[in-house]
Every structure is written in C-alpha cells, then in structure tokens.
Symmetry: C2
Subunit: 448 residues, 2 copies
C-alpha cells in the first residue's frame, strides 16, 4: 500500500495508469497474492485506485484531486499533524488547549491593537483601499531590517519581502527552492506543520536528531552526506517543541556542513521576541547567501493580523516577488500598518517584557504541577512557551491525548512532532495555556 501511495505521490503512477497485476506485484514485493489483494482493496476503499471489471486496477480518474493527507504514511489521528492543527483551531471556547502553539487571547496586547485600529481608521485613503507594493510596506521593512541587525543579521530593507504569515513565508520558499522528490531536512522533533507543509510539496522528508543545543552535529553531517538534501528548515532560538536554542559551536559546525554541501537553510525565527538571551542566528553567522531568515508576529502580537516576512539575498527576493505576484498578486497594507504602528509606539517592547516575566512564572508553576503527576521536562528552556516533557514510564502520549480530548482537553502528543515516530512517551505543553487548575485534574484522570 505504501509503495503504491508513494508512486502516486511522486507521480510515478499517474491518474488513469494501470497498476501492476496482483501476481506481478506480489512477486516484485516478495509478499503473498492475498496481501496485495488486501492492499489494493484498501486503496479502492480510500478512493485512490479503482478496479475495472476484467481489466485490472487503475489510478483514479482525473477529478480526484490532491489529498495531502494521503501523501506520506497514514497516521493515527491523534498524531496526524492536520488533525492536531484542526483540533486546536476548531476547539470550542470551553475546551482547554495546552497542546496548542499560541498564547491565550488575554495574554496578547489587545489595548495596543485597539489603539492601532483607531489610528488606522484615520489614515490616508490609499492605505485603506489600495494594493501594497509587491515587496510590502516600506517603513515596516526598514524597521524589520533594523531589528534583524540587532541579531547581527545584515540586511537592507530591499532584501525583506512581506508575506501573510510565517507559514506562508516557508511555503513560498519551498515552492521557490524545491521540487517534488527533493530531500529536505527537518529536526526530529520539530514543529509538526513543517511535515504537513513538506508533504504538500511532495518533498522527501528526513529528520535530524535534535539535542539540547540544536541538531546533533555528527548526525547532521552524516545525513547530509548520505541524503544530499536541498534544504534544511529549523528554529535557531527557542526551538519548537523542545524550547532548546542553538549553541554557538553547534551553529558554527552546522553552517560548515551546510556550506560544504551547498545546502540552503530556512531559519524560522518566530519565537525570537520570547528570548531572554538571543541564541546565535545562522543568518548572522553565515550571511543571507544560503540562509533565509523568516519571522512573523502571530505568536507575540496577534494571529489575526496576518503579517510575516522573508529576509534573503537580493536575487532570491526578486524571484520570490514574482512568485508572490503570481500566487497572491500583492499584499495589502492594512495588516503591515497595524504591526508597524504597534512596533513603533513603544507598547510592544513593554508588552514583551511583561510577557517574558509572566511566562517565566508560568513555566516554573507548570513544571512543578506536571512533575507532581510524574510528567518531567526533558530540559528546562531558557524562555518561551513550550515544555517538552517525558510521560511516566509505559505511558503512551497518543493514548493520553485521545483520553484527554474526550474530556475537552487538546494535547500535543510527541509523535506528531517526530518524523521517526520515536517520541511516543513525550508531550509538548504550552505553559501559557495551563492556567486552569481543572487541566491537571483532567490530566490525572486521563492518565488513569
């Protein structure tokens, strides 16, 4: 089944193509005829292939469109990235969401957003009604460029392209940089939507074991040599889900391998503003020749105000701008103006200062509460919102997530983050979403 799915996914089998006969395929795979019959039957049930009386099995006809969930392995729902995303996004207001990746609404700078909206209601007509330029609002690009300079990343505003979100930035870069079948490295574990995104691009996804200081450098080196990837996607600071940050030595060694093997890196820096001490940035160490730096304000300012950015070499920004025009025509200025006005008015810095303190307190409190349930953090992050925790021996995270969901709690079980599926006793907790004492009662009950 997996082989057929893969051939369809990689377009070695196209719609209308005839599948190998049951006998031929059984022989080829070294399995029994009945195994193939069963596999074909299941593919028919899934609507991927169809049988035509007397003439065999065929890949389904044209009108069956791409189903990303069918690319890659069929996963148990509890550890399927799409399912976890949908659970978090669709959760009813009365549900608890320690598994989601963002702050509660009450932790966000609503006063600043309300003020920015009032200011915007008085701005010039063009801002309210016109398309933005293809690169996006110039004063915001200038400000972002100055912000990146504080991390040692050397950019000009013309090297910054605004997008609708951080995810959209990575998506656009994948379209720009990779072809179906290209190998892409991700951290294992990593943000689960990277897997979903790369499945949509039909990439060959390879994981690199992730340590408390960043990716395992020896493994990284070996895997790069073995798999010749085109791209590596990572978080340098406050890695999702582990909360770890790159050490300078790891950063340097990763970058050496990257340069030696002509790799491109996407450095997804959306948690930067949560840091107490900035981690080294690959884009600072290596420049923007082969490192692409992206960010957004969804986690710190508002997820409703859609605005992300890409910083890359000028050549690539030019090609990316064409791609932006072709696939979205242009950006509006409304969301960028809102972000700009909040970044400029001084309240954003104060909000982040307060947020870091509040998160540190929550981190301590949630750690001790989890520990009292036998759930122990794998490491203690410097800052941020995530705690990556080991469950008591023998406990399965997917099972726990399923039980908890029945009780109205959305969890994020380890394997949803792990391409190698080696995190079945781990769980990611968002400390900002663990305020409600009811959560720990439910957890205790769900843990049996």
């Amino acid at each position: 089944m997996t082989t057929i799915r893969k051939r369809i996914g990689t377009r070695n089998l196209l719609s209308g193509d005839r599948l190998p006969s049951i006998r031929a395929f059984a022989q080829q795979m070294g399995v029994s005829n009945s195994t193939v019959v069963e596999a074909y039957d299941r593919l028919v049930a899934d609507g991927i292939i169809q049988s035509r009386r007397g003439s065999g099995f065929f890949v389904c006809a044209h009108t069956a469109p791409l189903s990303i969930t069918r690319i890659g392995p069929k996963l148990d729902r509890a550890i399927d990235p799409f399912w976890v995303s949908r659970q978090s996004l669709d959760a009813r207001p009365d549900m608890l969401k320690p598994g989601c990746g963002w702050l509660p609404a009450s932790w966000m700078p609503e006063t600043s957003i309300r003020r920015a909206l009032r200011t915007l209601s008085r701005t010039r007509t063009e801002t309210l009604t016109d398309y933005g330029t293809p690169l996006g609002l110039a004063p915001l690009r200038q400000l972002l460029s100055r912000r990146m300079a504080t991390y040692g990343i050397d950019t000009s505003p013309d090297q910054v392209l605004l997008t609708d979100s951080g995810t959209q930035a990575i998506d656009m870069l994948c379209r720009f940089l990779i072809e179906p079948g290209d190998t892409v490295l991700i951290d294992d574990p990593c943000y689960f939507n990277f897997q979903a995104l790369l499945r949509a691009h039909r990439a060959n996804i390879v994981g690199v074991p992730f340590t408390a200081n960043g990716p395992d450098v020896d493994a990284f080196d070996r895997i790069v040599k073995d798999t010749k990837p085109r791209l590596y996607i990572t978080n340098s600071g406050l890695h999702n889900p582990t909360g770890a940050s790159l050490s300078p030595m790891v950063a340097h060694r990763i970058l050496k391998t990257v340069e030696q093997h002509d790799l491109i890196v996407i450095e997804d820096d959306i948690f930067a503003d949560f840091e107490n001490t900035p981690a080294p940035r690959l884009a600072a160490l290596g420049g923007l020749d082969r490192v692409i730096h992206i960010g957004s304000f969804s986690k710190t300012l508002s997820a409703s105000v859609r605005c992300g950015y890409i910083a890359a070499s000028p050549d690539w920004i030019d090609g990316l701008t064409d791609l932006k025009i072709a696939t979205g025509f242009s950006s509006g200025n409304l969301a960028p103006e809102l972000v700009l006005s909040i970044l400029k008015d001084g309240t954003y810095r104060k909000h982040m200062d307060a947020l870091r303190t509040r998160l540190a307190t929550a981190m301590t409190r949630v750690t001790s509460r989890l520990q009292s349930l036998g759930i122990t953090p794998v490491s203690t992050p410097d800052a941020g919102i995530f705690l990556w925790c080991k469950l008591p021996d023998g406990m399965n995270a997917a099972t726990l997530a399923r039980n908890a969901l029945a009780d109205g709690v959305v969890l994020a079980p380890g394997n949803v983050f792990s391409i190698s599926q080696t995190a079945d006793d781990l769980m990611r907790f968002n400390v900002a979403q663990c305020d409600d004492p009811k959560l720990f009662e439910t957890l205790k009950r769900a843990m049996g």
Copy 2:
C-alpha cells in the same frame, strides 16, 4: 533554447544533468551546430546551464532556485505579465495607470472602511488576537452563501472556505487540482496573471478564443478533445479584459463539454458586483460538483483588506482546508470581520449602486475620447471597468505601452492577455483610471 528551457521547466532535465552534446542535439533538432552553440551560450549567460571544461554542459547546480519568469517563453518586457503587474503595483503616485486592473483609491468606500475599523477596535479580544477557524469566520461564510444563492448558486456555509484573496484562492485550487504538465485551458485573451500563476504551477497552458458571448464553443469542444485538459479557468460575468459576459446558450454548451470530458472549472467571479444584469453562472447551471466558484472584494471594497473565498463541493473543501493549514496555518479574523461589517451595514450596496452609475458615465466619456484618437472598443461592455480596444491600423500596442511608460503612463498592451500573442493591436483601458485629461494628451503624443 526553448526546448532545453522546457525540459528543465518540466523537470525532464534536473539540476546537475548533462545536456546532449552540441552535435547530437543539432542533429536531433535538425539545426546547425552553430545554432546549438549559440543557444547553449545564451543559456549559460542566463545562468540556467554551465559548461564544465572538457566534459560538456550541465544544468546549473542546486542553489539556483525556481525562476518563474524562466518557465515558458521569454517575453518582451512590455508584454510580460510580471512586468505589467510590477509596473502597476510599483507606479509612483504621479503616474497614470489606465493599464491597471483596479479602481483609484478615491472611488473606494473609505468612509465605510474607517467606520468598520472603529467598530473593530471595540470588538472582543479573541477577534483581535486569535487565529480564525480553518474555514474562516462563520458569519461571513453564511453571508457569502446567501449572496451566491441570489445568483442561483446552491451552497451551504460549510462549502465556503475563506482565503486571503481571489488570486490565492485560484493558486490553492491549482495546487489541489493540477500536477506539473497538466493541461489547463484559459480564455484568449484573459486576465494576464492567470498565465503567471499557471507558469508557477508548470501547467501546460492552452488558450480558447474568446468571443463577445464567452469562449468560442466549437473551438472549446475541439480543444478539449485534442488536449484533454484537467481544468478551465474563466470569468463568467464581465470577463477581464474584454468586459464580455457568458450568454445562456454558451454557458450551457460549455458545461456540456465540461461534463462529457470530466473537466473541472474555476469560475473567477470577482467582478460580479459591477454587473447591472447578472450573467449566467456555470456554478449555478452545473452545481458545485465540478465547477468551483471563487470571489473577493479587492476590486469593489478594498485591495488592502485581504479576503477572498472558494465555494466548492464539501469533499474538496475538506482537502482544501488541509492545504490551507499546511501552507498558511489558518486565517485571521480581522480582514473577514472588516468585510463582514461593511457588507452588513448597508453602505456596501449603496456604494456599489453609485459606483455602477459612475462607471457607466466614465465608460461613455472614455469611449468617445479614445475614439477621437482612433482607438475603438472591440465591443461595448454592459458594465464594469474595462474597455478592450483596437488601436489604429498598423499600430503596435507594446510599442505604444513602452512610449507611454517613458511619459509616466502605465498601459496594458493586448498581448499580455493573449497566450497566442495575437492581440498586438489591442489595448485594455480601465475607464476609472482615465479621469485625467493629461492622459489623452500623453496617449496622442505616444501614438506619434
């Protein structure tokens, strides 16, 4: 050159692959060695291939990313979709833009937008800071579903997925529905960004001659039989650039062919609200089984408030939602709330009533001014913003566009809309952008 580009574009040649030897390729193509040498030299100059001493020519190494402008034919700048888009979007405030596809800021409902922003500044916190649900703001989807019902399109709100724009809607659908190399039909002429978008998807683009009542039905039938397309993208009402609308008979015949040959149609309906009398909608006649209906408010409300939508069969909406999560995570509610509040408060309808009257007046005035320069509309549209015009005999639209640009006027020459490049004596004018009398002086001068 075109052959090599195409092979690279369709991934028959991958990066690092060796090109055929000069002699072998010359023989294969039936041209002289020196022609191949010249072509290879130009590809080297363009950075697409490189020569390695003694061992021949190779497709350039990994770090050269996708360049959409290199997919498809190399076009003269004046008729390159990307260049025209960039000229319009990047135009300085003092430039005139009869070639652009949107209304001047002063024609947009700024009072309503300002009021909606003030209202939004007082809304609940979650709206300001949280992600929206994957499908997008429910009350807006309900309203859109009711609006579509007035065109006879039968949808439930669950069949409506919000996107960031109309273009993004089409882009998402292309990712969902087509594979590189799939044939996609577009009207000839059609909105130029369809070509750019489809080039990004590496589709095989085929044009259907467009008449005053919609696509030429006999040609459509023949082309569908010959090229077995997967998809057809069109505007049913107030077609861009011709301003024509589908006649009921053409709609019926097109749909018959579509159904017979298992085609999917994307009906891009972004000009609906400009119509005086609604044209028949393919989505109304055929239902949403194989017709997908999309829209946005960029042209009538604001291009800065990014919000579009897709109406499709429930199955597809489910797959599209996964794609939306993978590639953009989710939408925010800010832009949808703005659109909703303006659609609901009654001012949008008044704005559109006034706009239609104002456009009708502009249409008459601009027609007569253009006629006095010997520029004659090919047909008289019922409504809308576009006039598709024939230039005086012997005059080339690309040349005229270049001359006008030197004088600060952005025009949209015919061939930018024409996949067959058979519109070199045609020009699209946006009557709302032709208010300034200076424009006609400049045109006259540029026409020589």
